[in-house]
């Protein structure tokens, strides 16, 4: 298990001009390690749809990579998105599944215990899939593994789906989420879109 804030710090240190789309607890902790105009923290995608939004964004912006930080509870709400990622996922999309086995935002209720998220991703066809057949599925079991693999997922064609088992011992900042339209406007502005 990786301490989540350490993983987010490593990601933020490796990130250059990628768009980072995040939802749920990542929206609370990512701002502790990053302040970038291409950060898109958003709680209101609709349940489980952060990576779907990220897929659309990556298709629209092929000149740069899109990284999606999402949780395992959200993925369970939209498992079909794995199949869509395997079929339509572009080279420039990276999905990092922060696997904490709990619905953390709603009080830490446990997820089903037997599900294998990397297995689901492989069975969906992501490994060797995506629009150009360059997709991959990996698991980062330690911070060292993450650090070793980050250059690959940020520098080679994907889509890359990474499962990162995480824990968290840091206090979470309070949820403060309003102005969803303003977040959209800011991201489009940062991308140079009117």
């Amino acid at each position: 298990m990786i301490e989540r804030l350490d993983l987010l710090s490593a990601l933020a240190a490796a990130r250059t001009d990628e768009i980072v789309v995040m939802t749920m607890t990542s929206t609370l902790q990512w701002p502790l390690v990053s302040d970038h105009e291409l950060d898109f923290d958003f709680l209101a995608f609709g349940m489980g749809h952060a990576s779907d939004f990220g897929l659309g964004l990556a298709v629209a912006r092929p000149e740069r990579r899109t990284i999606v930080l999402k949780g395992d509870g959200g993925l369970l709400m939209s498992l079909g998105s794995l199949v869509t990622l395997a079929e339509h996922g572009p080279d420039n999309l990276v999905v990092v599944l922060l696997e904490n086995r709990a619905y953390e935002m709603t009080g830490g209720q446990s997820l089903p215990t037997r599900v294998d998220f990397a297995g689901l991703a492989r069975a969906s066809g992501i490994d060797g899939g995506g629009v150009n057949g360059s997709g991959s599925v990996e698991t980062w079991n330690s911070l060292d593994e993450a650090a070793d693999d980050l250059p690959r997922v940020l520098g080679t064609p994907g889509p890359h789906f990474v499962v990162a088992p995480v824990t968290n011992s840091s206090p979470l900042p309070p949820v403060n989420h309003t102005d969803h339209a303003g977040r959209v406007t800011r991201l489009r502005g940062a991308l140079g879109i009117d």
């Binding site: 779907d52 629209a60 489009r188």
Partner: protein
């Protein structure tokens, strides 16, 4: 000049009471989408939109993404638009009902002007007075009204201008708008 080769499928089915073929031409719909500068079609085909699905897939100028559920499609379209593209979401009314949370979260809430083409399952039966009426039929327009999603009827080729009205309205309001298709595409 449109760079999309689509075979024109002549209507051979039912005629309306004004001798207008029922349903909309897939080919002319694709031409309309291209004239309006749509870039992507996010679509889950159903039996009524099957010909449109074939038509958009045969058009190199339109990128087609087929998700597994309609909520996915709404979110994908939202990402496309935020990234600067102009997608059309084509789903059935039953899928619209499934996608309500995504429509709220990725359209209405953040003011993303999603353009929707919604197949109106149950419409032909209701028009013909067949009982029982498909339960998807009566809820479709009230549901769109409840979400304040303006919508127009796209039932024949004479209604194709409604795609432009829908598009203009979405653009002006930066909110979702829809056309409803009641008959199978020709």
């Amino acid at each position: 000049m449109l760079n999309c080769a689509v075979d024109i499928v002549q209507g051979s089915g039912q005629m309306s009471d004004v001798n207008q073929p029922i349903g909309v031409s897939s080919a002319v719909t694709v031409e309309t989408l291209m004239r309006l500068d749509f870039t992507d079609v996010v679509m889950i085909p159903d039996s009524e939109s099957a010909r449109l699905f074939d038509a958009v897939r045969s058009c190199d100028a339109l990128n087609v993404i087929s998700p597994t559920r309609e909520g996915e499609g709404i979110a994908i379209a939202a990402g496309l638009w935020v990234g600067g593209r102009k997608p059309l979401v084509v789903i059935q009314n039953t899928g619209l009902m499934e996608a309500g949370d995504a429509l709220r979260g990725c359209g209405i809430g953040p003011h993303i002007p999603l353009r929707l083409m919604v197949g109106w399952r149950g419409y032909p039966g209701a028009q013909a007075g067949r009982l029982p009426v498909d339960s998807a039929h009566p809820y479709t327009e009230p549901l769109l009204d409840a979400w304040n999603v303006p919508h127009w009827h796209l039932m024949t080729d004479d209604d194709l201008h409604t795609i432009g009205l829908m598009d203009d309205t979405a653009s002006a309001s930066s909110l979702p708008a829809a056309v409803l298709t009641g008959w199978s595409f020709r």
